[in-house]
């Protein structure tokens, strides 16, 4: 009997596919998320919109918050550590969280190196903006990838840019002759063996979700149609006027992403979505997606 194998780490992400992972800051939120059909929750002290508004250094959440949420729900509980902060990651592993998000939403601890994730029993999810970044994280041991988008904005434009970049890179690799794969690896800045694997299987070697800006059921379905295998919704639910109704609607739209009639139906009477931000109005040093490499 062997625990912490690659198969069980990547396998949990496979079980989350087609689902919605929701940011929650209290056990009450977590209960609402579970009742609404979330396939997992991300336990946080503040949702990204508040982190953005508050400024300062954002760190791993207080373990008390995380444990309270773990006690409340039966679905998997994820939590975030700062990029490169392997001690926060070890602490989250010791708490028994089901997935660690090495996340650009928190202030990076290391601007050059990410956590070496292979040595952990608990699986990691990491953000990316393109295929090269995704494969670098998988090379370090990430068992799940999510496109970054721009967290806490309620604006889907960056999420679209990133999922399109990943899918476009994959389509190109599939049509690349073998003798050009090494050059592709060099240009992508990605491990050669993983470039070869993507060329062969026509997809990422791990599950890929979309994140960062999903605020409506149609946003979630858009991500799915562009090739994401599930979605993270951060501020979009609990910063809206009616979180429970919106959460249920986003879950239904993610399952039935190819059915416009269902998306139209679930989009009715949701109340106000979170207030969105124009990415161009955000000073470039405050963009979260550019954290990590």
């Amino acid at each position: 009997m062997e625990t912490g194998t690659w198969k069980v780490k990547a396998g949990l992400a496979q079980m989350l596919k087609g689902g919605v992972i929701m940011d929650v800051v209290t056990p009450e939120h977590a209960k609402i998320a579970e009742e609404s059909g979330a396939c997992a929750v991300m336990a946080l002290e503040r949702v990204p919109a508040d982190i953005r508004a508050d400024g300062g250094v954002a760190r791993m959440a207080d373990p008390t918050v995380i444990e309270a949420i773990m006690k409340t729900v039966s679905i998997p509980v994820m939590a975030k550590c700062r990029i490169g902060h392997f001690v926060e990651a070890r602490a989250l592993e010791a708490l028994g969280v089901d997935y660690i998000d090495e996340s650009e939403v928190l202030t990076p601890a290391d601007e050059s190196h990410h956590v070496w994730k292979h040595d952990f029993k608990v699986p990691f999810v990491c953000g990316c903006r393109d295929l090269g970044e995704a494969l670098r994280r998988v090379g370090e041991g990430a068992a799940m990838i999510r496109t970054k988008g721009e967290a806490g904005t309620g604006n889907i434009v960056e999420a679209v840019r990133h999922i399109r970049a990943v899918m476009d890179n994959i389509r190109k690799l599939m049509n690349t002759p073998e003798e050009e794969l090494m050059t592709q690896a060099k240009e992508l800045g990605a491990p050669f063996e993983l470039v070869v694997e993507v060329h062969k299987i026509g997809k990422l070697p791990v599950v890929n979700f979309a994140a960062g800006g999903v605020a409506t059921p149609a946003d979630a379905a858009l991500m799915m149609q562009l090739g994401a295998e599930g979605v993270f919704v951060g501020s979009g639910i609990f910063k809206s006027s009616n979180p429970e109704v919106r959460a249920r609607a986003i879950v239904k739209a993610t399952t039935n992403y190819q059915d416009p009639a269902i998306i139209a139906e679930v989009s009715k009477n949701l109340g106000d979505a979170m207030t969105g931000l124009d990415i161009k109005q955000i000073p470039s040093e405050e963009l979260m997606a550019q954290r990590g490499w």
Partner: protein, 192 residues
């Protein structure tokens, strides 16, 4: 022969891929009308609460239950096994309630306790079967009509059959071993 794979959420694509490798037509099922043309149904691993909620929202619980009671073969893995059980210890999700057994969710603990182990499964032959257990359930109790197909070394029950219904606590869909799906096809064609 056409097999539906419940596609509300979870690892349905993996089941469809294995069934296609066995030359069987497999289609995703999200709505009741998609259930009508299928001869059997697979319920994949996923999140039990999520899948249960979506089945209720789209009126699939009654549709699937009545088809199963008419004899439609079903194969549930992990979440599928939970949903097919008569009762789940200490949790209030809506179940299909088809198999005469009580199941415990997350019976081994959280993700860090997820594991792989080789299983001896007599109905599949001598070769051990790769058991992938992810936040897995177990069969705590079973009654008449339920045949246990696999146990762990400590004799915990992890796979069962009740006539047309097959349920396992682990994930054959995450392996390259096709024998469990083949066994399900044998149930469908009345070969075992």
């Amino acid at each position: 022969m056409k097999i539906g794979v419940l596609a509300s959420q979870g690892a349905f694509a993996e089941h469809i891929s294995i069934l296609e490798q066995l030359d069987v037509e497999a289609v995703p099922v999200r709505l009741p009308e998609e259930l009508r043309g299928v001869d059997g149904l697979v319920i994949p691993g996923g999140e039990t609460t999520t899948i249960s909620r979506l089945m209720s929202a789209y009126n699939l619980v009654n549709e699937i239950s009545s088809r199963a009671k008419e004899g439609m073969p079903m194969f549930g893995t992990c979440t599928g096994m939970i949903l097919m059980a008569r009762e789940v210890a200490g949790n209030g999700v809506e179940l299909l309630g088809l198999m005469n057994m009580i199941v415990k969710r997350n019976a081994f603990g959280r993700q860090r306790e997820s594991f792989e182990v080789e299983l001896s499964i007599p109905v599949l032959g001598k070769e051990p079967f790769p058991g992938v257990f992810i936040r897995a359930p177990i069969i705590e109790h079973f009654d008449g009509g339920v045949e246990i197909l696999a146990r762990l070394d400590d004799s915990t029950c992890v796979a069962a059959r009740q006539k047309n219904l097959l349920a396992v606590a682990f994930h054959p869909e995450l392996t390259t071993d096709l024998r469990f799906h083949h066994y399900f096809l044998d149930i469908m064609t009345g070969n075992c």
